[in-house]
Amino acid sequence: MVSARSDTDAVAAGVLELLALEDAPDLNTVLERIVRAARRQASARYGAIGVPDGRGGFARFVTSGISDRVAATIGELPRTHGVLGALLEGGPILLDDIRRHPRFSYYPAHHPTLTDFLGVPIKHRGKVLGNLFVSGHRSGHFTKTDARRLETLAAYAGVAIANAELYAQSQRLAVVEERNRVARELHDAATQTLFSLVLAARAAALSTRDEQARTAILGFEQRTTLALQELRALVHALRPKSLERDGLVATLADHAEALRSSGARVVVEATEGVRLPLESEHALLRIAQEALNNAMRHAPGSSIRVTLRAGARTLTLRVRDDGPGFDIAALSRTRRGIGLATMRERAQEIDARLDVRSRPGAGTTVTVSVPIGATR
């Protein structure tokens, strides 16, 4: 069908638009477009996309075929424990009467009575992000062809949702950085004034012959100095860390903090006071960042532990996640395989050994050992 194809093309165009992250359209707009395309392609009266919030409800619920007025009278959104929840767990569901499904509970008042039902999970990189479903086929029955069309559209929806999340994450990081910059500048201006007050107070203390006044002024100077020191410490803490200035441990901790602020579960445990030549620290930082990126990309939601331990002769950096793991042998040509090769090269440049361990279902551990003695 020509119209089906052009529908899909329009959806693909919308998703491509969303991929050009600089000018990301609203995710809801793209999802609405996908739902409308789904209704047309499956000749359905109603359609919807649900993106669960992880707490039993839906963070987004985009409908088509139901007027805003009707949607408002229905009020409550569905929960994820019913048939829609079953979709999140498995493959497509094609039913002639949804009300006979074992997990169907009830329709709220004013909800149109749906009988036939076709739903597919929205997946991206193996993870279910939501579901796409339609109801009210012109003939009363959906077919397997309809299901295949819906799966194609669901794949687009997956890309769109995943990228919107990435975009939101990068926006949050940018906001954190900008907020820190502004705070830093405001506080720095205040430190200049406090420093000036300390100087002026000392001048006043030196100028007066009144013993009582001098004592009072010096007390004032002392408290101003304390405020100055506190504020300077704050400004310092707000500065973006740099490897050269702050060293590997502080820079890694800062990076982890930024990732945490965008929702990642990362902890860093490090032996303080170990300094390697800048070149080695640079390579270790890049390896750690690549390993962290991989963990976040391929094991989203897993908890990630970064450790940096100094032994007698070697410094060991380890990045471990408890995610799904993977088969190392099967990935030489993939993007992930290239990432691993880059980490290996970086390790070789500083005479370090890189070891990657992973098995499906058993998480992933990247270990780099760099000799300490040779460098100092």
Binding site: D188, A189, T191, Q192, T193, F195, S196, L197, V198, L199, A200, R202, A203, L206, S207, T225, L228, Q229, R232, V235, H236, R239, E244, R245, R275, L276, P277, L278, R376
Partner: protein, 211 residues
């Protein structure tokens, strides 16, 4: 009575210049002969007021403080530049010292220590904030200079240079002539490959050449 130290204050914060002026005018032997709010103005004022010491903030909106050190030394030969700035970046400290800054103080320095620092750099002694010295010590990297080439006597002299002593004081401390000390110091500078005492002190601290 020695002539007062002619001082030029360079800081883009008017409030800081005001505080410095208020405090320093009470200091015996220091005379503020000019002020500037930026790097360009500093160079112009230095050219006409011929200061002995420039108190310089490195962070200014109109340009690079390190470049300003070079240019100040061009337009006012013999001038000592004492950096007084907000923060201690390793790169910034080394760049400033390499550009010929005679000292590096931070804007939480005790006022008296600031006045002493101005007198120190004028007398040819380095003035380093304690946290700047600490940063220098922590800095890894760059190959060790030929410390083993220094004679035991030269090492003694270097240790006292790091303490900020002038040749005369070093001579008294070691019980030898000032002229001999002068020779020792120039040999130390040559062996370490540096051009002045501040750089020698920085290198000595950074490389752990002295305790």
């Amino acid at each position: 009575m020695n002539a007062p130290i002619r001082l030029l204050i360079v800081d883009d914060h008017a409030v800081v210049r005001e505080g410095l002026r208020a405090f320093l005018r009470l200091q015996e032997g220091i005379e503020v002969v000019g002020e500037a709010a930026g790097a360009g103005e500093a160079v112009r004022v230095a050219a006409i007021s011929s200061p002995d010491v420039v108190l310089l903030d490195l962070v200014m909106p109109d340009g690079d403080g390190i470049a300003a050190i070079h240019r100040l030394r061009e337009v006012a030969p013999g001038v000592r530049v004492l950096v007084l700035t907000s923060f201690a970046d390793d790169t910034q400290i080394f760049a400033a010292i390499a550009a010929g800054a005679a000292g590096y103080l931070l804007k939480d320095v005790d006022p008296q220590a600031l006045a002493d620092g101005i007198r120190d750099v004028h007398a040819g002694r380095p003035a380093l904030h304690s946290s700047v010295a600490a940063r220098l010590m922590r800095h890894p990297g760059s190959p060790r200079p030929a410390y083993s080439d220094l004679t035991p006597r030269e090492r003694d002299v270097l240790a006292l240079v790091v303490e900020g002593l002038a040749n005369k004081q070093i001579a008294q401390r070691l019980g030898i002539g000032e002229k001999t000390i002068k020779t020792h110091v120039s040999r130390v500078l040559a062996k370490l490959g540096v051009t002045d005492r501040t750089q020698a002190a920085v290198l000595a601290i950074r490389e752990g050449l002295v305790d």
